[in-house]
């Protein structure tokens, strides 16, 4: 009797326990070994000894914390303010290239941070190159997709008749926005603000490329202390300081979200109207300006890659294999090698992420409460800064028998850690929509649970897995923070090579960096557009 009940409780129509257990082991082990352990090691290192007192008593620490906070706040505010206009346009109207527009914003969000930094370096006049404006600009362009997607999904569910009702009561467009739309969007705006703040607070690649040595974020300072000053303890303490700040933010937004949740019952309209009359100008303006903010820097990348001397030439592209400072003197950066290494790393990282992600999805959906723990655990790396992950791994895997610093798979594993959450999320959302009846139906037709599962669930996972694989590859190609710690001399990945080339003053090196950035940008955008289109097809079919 008890056993019968037990069996009934297991979802997925009772996959055998040995199967579920076998499948749960790899993701759990992966998480414990490569995330939890390094994380705990880092905590222990940061909290131990005199480093805490030394770090907290340095006035520098507070100055850096202050800069990190205010640039993140300013970036977030700007992103929201600038993002609301295009959000309005895409959630209210249908227009030519609407889909392409949204996909492009998404692609920019997935772009490597180093590439976005390089793009703003390319587009801004020299006077602004290493100014706070460059940093803010890059952060805004980067995160617009967060606002457009998060706020947009709430906005398109707001019936437009709500605006009309307000207008019929005498409220002009701006008043309607202020008194009706804004309060109703408030919880989605604060949700996207929290995400943008998280990303900009832990900004690393953009600051490394666009910031000055005297104005680091906590993330950059951790890197500088660890890799330039050799101050491991101080760097670890700073990591903890950053974690505390982020923990506070998460707690605060959770409370805010709960307090201001307003149920919006509407659904997204099947068809959005085309803009008419004055709307045409407004929509064109909003979409045009946004496209300019996002696309101009990317075009500037290409333009600058062709400008290595006076006038335009392909010199930088042709000399990608070579970086002599002077005959006989080389930079130690091998762009072509980096290209090949990045490709290899991406393939492996994708493979690791897919194996871990796929087994995790099966385990999570079969395991009930334990599954939820695994699910939450696998999401953690997403909220952890890349620096924390790379730094933790570097100081954990440095003693035999786990001295893995020289292993070729360490960098792809680090990338897989960041990419796995995406695989799990996109696949789980599909698994949860599969009616349990379908497996039951297969079972009544005589299929064993494993067979029924293979016949009903597996085919549905094909598309989300293909999309997730694309995303994982894109993430790996652009990963910079964790790689900065794990990479070894002579085996740089593309983003590392780009940053090193950008740090040089020679025009040819700059142009080479822009050429490599162009390659990386094209690869990432291509992957995202492909994944996005695949997703659309799946939705339509």
């Amino acid at each position: 009797m008890d056993r019968a009940l037990e069996r009934r409780r297991a979802p997925l129509n009772g996959l055998p326990r040995w199967f579920v257990a076998a499948v749960a082991v790899p993701p759990a082990a992966f998480l414990l070994l490569f995330y939890v352990w390094p994380f705990v090691t880092l905590l222990a290192r940061g909290l131990g000894g005199a480093d805490v007192a030394a770090t907290l008593s340095r006035s520098d620490t507070w100055r850096i914390l202050w800069f990190t906070t205010w640039q993140a706040t300013a970036s977030t505010a700007l992103t929201i303010v600038i993002g609301l206009a295009p959000t309005w346009a895409v959630s209210r109207f249908d227009f030519a290239f609407r889909r392409v527009f949204v996909s492009t914003l998404t692609a920019v969000f997935v772009l490597p941070t180093v590439v976005v930094g390089a793009a703003f370096l390319a587009v801004l006049p020299d006077a602004l190159d290493r100014s706070i404006w460059a940093i803010l600009g890059a952060h805004v362009a980067f995160n617009l997709a967060v606002v457009v997607r998060t706020v947009g999904s709430a906005w398109e569910r707001l019936p437009s008749d709500l605006d009309h009702a307000a207008a019929a009561l005498g409220a002009g467009p701006f008043t309607t926005f202020r008194l009706i739309t804004l309060p109703l969007l408030r919880s989605s705006i604060s949700a996207s603000a929290a995400i943008v703040f998280l990303f900009t607070f832990t900004s690393f690649g953009v600051i490394r490329v666009l910031g000055t040595a005297g104005r680091p974020t906590i993330e950059v300072e951790v890197w500088r202390r660890a890799t330039q000053l050799g101050d491991i303890g101080g760097a670890a303490t700073l990591t903890i300081l950053q974690l505390l700040a982020l923990g506070g933010l998460v707690a605060w937004t959770t409370v805010q979200q709960r307090r201001h949740a307003i149920a919006i019952r509407g659904e997204a309209p099947r068809r959005r109207p085309r803009p008419v009359g004055r709307q045409i100008a407004h929509v064109t303006g909003a979409v045009g300006v946004t496209t300019l903010i996002v696309a101009a820097p990317l075009l500037a990348l290409v333009e600058r890659s062709l400008r290595s001397g006076d006038g335009y030439s392909l010199a930088a592209w042709r000399s990608l294999g070579n970086n002599e400072i002077r005959p006989g003197l080389r930079l130690g950066v091998d762009p072509l090698g980096a290209l090949q290494r990045s490709a290899t790393t991406a393939v492996w990282a994708t493979l690791f992420a897919m194996v871990i992600g796929a087994t995790a999805v099966v385990a999570i959906s079969a395991l009930g409460r334990t599954g939820k723990v695994l699910d939450a655990g696998l999401m953690l790396p997403l909220g952890t800064s890349a620096i924390t992950i790379g730094f933790g791994m570097l100081i954990t895997f440095d003693t035999p028998p786990v001295d893995w610093r020289a292993e070729w798979w360490l960098v792809p594993i680090g990338h897989a850690l960041v990419a796995t959450p995406f695989v799990v999320r996109s696949a789980l959302s599909v698994v949860r929509t599969i009616p349990a009846d379908r497996a039951a139906a297969a079972a009544t037709l005589g299929a064993s649970p494993v067979r029924a599962w293979a016949n009903t669930t597996l085919p549905a996972l094909r598309r989300p897995f293909a999309a997730a694989a694309g995303l994982a590859a894109a993430i790996s190609l652009g990963e910079f923070g964790a790689t900065s710690f794990l990479t070894r001399s002579g085996s740089d990945t593309l983003p590392i090579a780009i940053e090193r080339l950008l740090g040089r003053t020679g025009r040819l090196f700059q142009a080479q960096a822009f050429a490599l950035s162009t390659i990386l940008a094209v690869a990432t955008i291509g992957i995202v557009l492909l994944v996005d289109r695949g997703g659309d097809r799946a939705r339509r079919s």
Partner: protein
């Protein structure tokens, strides 16, 4: 409707591609009789250059191939070595200098070894490493260099002291290296600390900053991109006392007079070391390479390729080098113990005074 490739196909393809790529990259490296020499970025690494030819002779003698891997600036290279101590990126490291040496020793980067010809090297160098953690390989002086013709064009007399650099006629003319990442940068910082004292050096740097000093991350950036002698627009650069002969010897057409001069009172003595990285899996080869690096055969390439002085007194120097290089009578030095105790704090304070 076109379908996306199935997941099985995708995975199979991915595995195939990955295996192929790894196979390709595996072919190129890691034979047991190859050792890796890690060096700072201004180390010449062209395949057919004199340094490479010298290393080829080492291969002929011992059967051991040497692969040169270029890291970043000295500071970055050393920090990376500290983080990878015990499982190093290479077998031998070239180029830690006396300003960074104590850090390398305290972080256990090196495995002690006494080179065969160590006794031939003057005690003023070997005394810096009493336990033979590293082996001195060259020395030189970090000095402010000036572009003679650029100063003549501006109708400005060359500076003669460090204090001169804060004068208005040198505004916007000096480029230095960041002491956190660059060894000549650190040496120059130490020179100013020795000159102006614990109380005064920050103020001096604030004056330099007000005089629009430019800071770049490494020597090759400073010398090859910013210095007017090589096409940049700053006529004053922190470089080496042996930089002028370089300009004479490699000039086209050949010069008979130096194009750049050295501010002798600004010179800080720098000794560079090579060492065996602890945890190397080829300790015998690494020892043989250290022996070779201080041998007369390799040492005679040091002057004309790295533009520093060889530590091996058996080497005869090129006449142009002797004529145009500056070896100051009393270069500035600071006690290594003092450097070790204060390096991080000095760099932080410099950061605060100059970069913020």
């Amino acid at each position: 409707m076109k379908r996306l490739p199935s997941i099985t196909t995708a995975v199979t393809t991915a595995v195939a591609v990955a295996v192929a790529l790894v196979a390709v990259s595996a072919c190129s490296g890691d034979e047991p009789d190859t050792i890796t020499l890690l060096a700072y970025e201004s180390f010449p690494s062209e395949p057919d250059g004199p340094i490479a030819l010298a290393l080829d002779e080492f291969t002929e003698q011992t059967g051991i191939e040497v692969e040169v891997v270029i890291s970043g600036d000295t500071g970055t290279m050393l920090s990376k070595a500290a983080l990878t101590a015990g499982n190093p990126e290479a077998d031998v490291m070239w180029g830690v200098d006396n300003t960074f040496l104590s850090r390398a020793i305290s972080t256990g980067v090196f495995e002690p070894y006494e080179a065969v010809e160590l006794d031939a090297i003057p005690a003023e160098f070997t005394s810096l490493v009493p336990n033979a953690e590293a082996t001195p390989v060259d020395f030189g002086d970090v000095c402010v260099n000036y572009d003679i013709s650029a100063l003549v064009n501006d109708d400005v007399e060359p500076p003669t002291t460090l204090a001169d650099l804060t004068l208005p006629q040198f505004a916007g003319k000096l480029v230095v290296e960041n002491p956190a990442t660059s060894s000549p940068g650190l040496a120059f910082l130490l020179a100013t600390i020795a000159q102006f004292g614990e109380e005064g050096w920050e103020q001096y740097w604030q004056q330099l900053r007000a005089n629009d000093v430019e800071v770049v991350s490494g020597w090759s950036d400073a010398y090859y991109s910013e210095f007017s002698g090589s096409g940049g627009d700053r006529p004053l650069v922190v470089s080496y006392g042996s930089s002028p002969p370089f300009e004479v010897i490699y000039a086209e057409p050949p010069l008979t007079e130096a194009a750049s001069g050295v501010v002798e009172s600004s010179c800080y003595r720098q000794v560079e070391f090579a060492g065996i990285l602890s945890g190397t899996d080829a300790p015998d080869g690494a020892r043989a390479l250290i022996d070779f690096l201080v041998s007369e055969r390799f040492q005679r390439e040091v002057a004309l390729n790295l533009f520093v002085f060889p530590v091996n007194p058996a080497v005869e120097l090129d006449q142009a080098f002797v004529d145009f290089a500056t070896i100051p009578d009393s270069p500035i030095t600071i006690d290594p113990i003092l450097i070790d105790a204060n390096r991080t704090e000095w760099i932080e304070r410099w950061n605060a005074a100059v970069l913020r």
